[in-house]
């Protein structure tokens, strides 16, 4: 947790032992060879700053009191700015690159928000370079867009899969570079320029990728309000041709965050284990399947109407499936369940759901079957699904080499490095995460040397931290 800045307060104490300059903004009398004078009182400060004889100070003091009373209820005029632009232009610099390590990936926001608040990062238009086996670009359905400006909601309500989009919506990042290994297929490689905004206070994007359509996050550009332009780049980090100069320049020096999820190096799909004896995940993959827009896009025949139609179909499908699974959770059988519209859930798919239920009930006691979990599990199946790739030692060595090469090619160092274990919920294998962390830290040290802070902040160990002391 961030600790009190006792250092700043002791700095403040030191300041008032300095000899004070007569023309100083902060006031005071110069006094060469004298004992350190006490801090000036208000009256002395006025006299000193204005170099006005004492007999005229009282008049000035009255004037000041009147002015202060007039100002009491008003805040001095600084330009009121729209959205979240800072009126402060001076950025602070870390003495060394800090490394902030969490378990749940969304917890890195705590650190990023403090960097934004203290102006160690500009408030807007930063670039997030995101090593991960997952894009984490889902939009939370139950969090309003406007909450993207409410730090407390963000820190308490976001989760591992949806922590990035609010930062794009609020403008903190305008570019995300997802670096993955080639066995991750959730979003195709390349540059994806799109708009992010809101529709009825829900974040949406006009990017017609399956990833967004499947989650109900796609909107047409016309439907979106208060939009910002963002760019998503997706690259295979296991390609030797990966060159960070493709997306980073010297101009990014002040706003580059390097974010590393350790499951980038080795990842499991924890949902594969759920009700494995009933072959649950494979059956869910069939039940939750939807027609992708990608073939039509690649053929050049897809239209916005197609995207909207696919998005609408997908939403109806998910709503209908949710109704079924919620009923099963409540009633523990299909009795009383209103049959879904056959254009949404075909009889063949409905039969698959019945079959799944029979197989689960054959293998597991009824009170162990969690239909809400099964629905969530099905929601991850999608057309490209969650990756499952537990890396061998040889593969890990290769990925570490790729990572080091990437770091060595960086045109500028990052301002800050955030890192996530993702091990508590079994994405990064728990028997590998410590080793992977150790290697990644070693590589960072090898490449950045003394530019890197000597000690990482272990948020998952409740290490105290203060961005002003880094």
């Amino acid at each position: 947790m961030e600790s009190d800045t006792t250092e700043k307060e002791s700095t403040a104490a030191e300041l008032q032992s300095l000899p004070l300059q007569s023309e100083s903004v902060v006031g005071g009398k110069a006094g060469q060879g004298e004992a350190t004078p006490p801090p000036p009182n208000k009256r002395q400060k006025i006299a000193l700053d204005a170099a006005i004889p004492d007999d005229q100070v009282d008049e000035l003091k009255e004037k000041e009191v009147v002015e202060e009373e007039e100002e009491e209820e008003t805040v001095p005029q600084l330009v009121a700015v729209e959205r979240a632009q800072s009126t402060q232009s001076s950025l602070r610099k870390f003495s060394r690159i800090p490394v902030f390590i969490v378990d749940y990936h969304n917890d890195v926001l705590e650190f990023i928000y403090r960097c934004l608040a203290t102006r160690h990062l500009p408030l807007e238009r930063n670039i997030l370079v995101h090593f991960d086996s997952h894009p984490d670009l889902v939009v939370a359905r139950d969090i309003p867009a406007s909450a993207s400006y409410d730090k407390d909601i963000m820190l308490n309500e976001l989760s591992i899969e949806n922590w990035i989009m609010p930062t794009l919506y609020a403008g903190h990042f305008d570019r995300v570079v997802w670096l993955k290994n080639s066995w991750c297929q959730q979003i195709p490689t390349g540059k994806h320029d799109f708009k992010i905004g809101h529709k009825e206070d829900r974040i949406g994007v006009d990017c017609p990728l399956d990833y967004f359509i499947a989650e109900g996050n796609y909107c047409t550009s016309e439907e979106l309000q208060e939009t910002r332009a963002v760019q998503l780049q997706v690259h295979d980090a296991d390609s030797e041709s990966l060159d960070p100069a493709q997306f980073l320049t010297a101009q990014d020096a002040a706003g580059f965050v390097l974010d590393i999820d350790l499951d980038f190096f080795s990842t499991s799909n924890p949902f594969l284990e759920i009700y494995k004896d009933a072959n649950c995940y494979a059956q869910l993959t069939e039940i939750f399947h939807f027609e992708s827009v990608e073939p039509a896009k690649q053929a050049g025949t897809a239209t916005i109407a197609d995207y909207c139609a696919t998005a609408a179909t997908r939403q109806k499908q998910l709503d209908a499936l949710k109704r079924i699974f919620w009923h099963l959770e409540e009633q523990r059988s299909f009795d009383g369940l209103e049959k879904p519209d056959e254009s949404v859930i075909t009889p063949q798919i409905y039969a698959k759901i019945v079959q799944l239920a029979e197989q689960l009930q054959a293998k597991y006691p009824d009170d162990e079957i969690d239909w809400l979990l099964i629905f969530d599990s099905g929601s991850t199946t999608d057309n490209n699904g969650l990756p499952h790739h537990i890396s061998t030692s040889k593969e890990l060595a290769e990925y570490f080499a790729n990572f080091k090469r990437f770091l060595q090619r960086l045109p500028v160092p990052p301002v800050a490095i955030t890192m996530a274990h993702s091990a508590q919920d079994d994405y990064c294998p728990q028997d590998q995460v410590a080793f992977i962390e150790e290697q990644v830290l070693r590589l960072l040290r090898e490449v950045f040397g003394d530019k890197l802070h000597e000690k990482a902040i272990l948020h998952y160990m409740d290490d105290p931290w203060d961005v002003m002391k880094l």
Binding site: M1, E2, D4, T5, K8, T11, A12, A13, L15, Q16, L18, Q21, S24, V26, G27, P39, P40, N41, K42, V75, P76, L78, A80, V81, A84, Q85, S86, T87, Q88, R114, L116, A117, T118, H134, P135, L137, V138, K151, L155, S159, I160, E161, Y211, E215, P270, F271, I274, L372, L373, S377, S379, T380, D382, N383, N384, L386, Q424, D425, H459, D462
Partner: protein, 82 residues
């Protein structure tokens, strides 16, 4: 596709994010915890005032700013001036 937190385990206990300091020592009169901050996030401005010696300082803020950031800006301004 979006990954989900596995629900096999109970939801993680949310860490208590400790609130940051709200009152500060005055860099002028050195009274402890005598300075209070008024934040106007609507106008992106804040003012810190010492209730003992009445020194004050104004600065720009953003919606993520905390009172301690206003205080730090003040101390930095004092350092720069000195």
């Amino acid at each position: 596709m979006g990954r989900r937190k596995s629900k096999r385990k109970p939801p993680p206990k949310r860490k208590n994010i400790e609130p940051l300091d709200q009152q500060f020592n005055c860099p002028f009169c050195n009274h402890e915890k005598s300075c209070e901050v008024k934040m106007d996030k609507g106008r992106n401005t804040a003012k810190i005032t010492c209730r003992v010696c009445l020194e004050d300082f104004q600065t720009g803020i953003n919606f993520l700013s905390e009172p301690i950031d206003v205080y730090n800006d003040w101390v930095d301004a004092c350092e720069t001036a000195n």
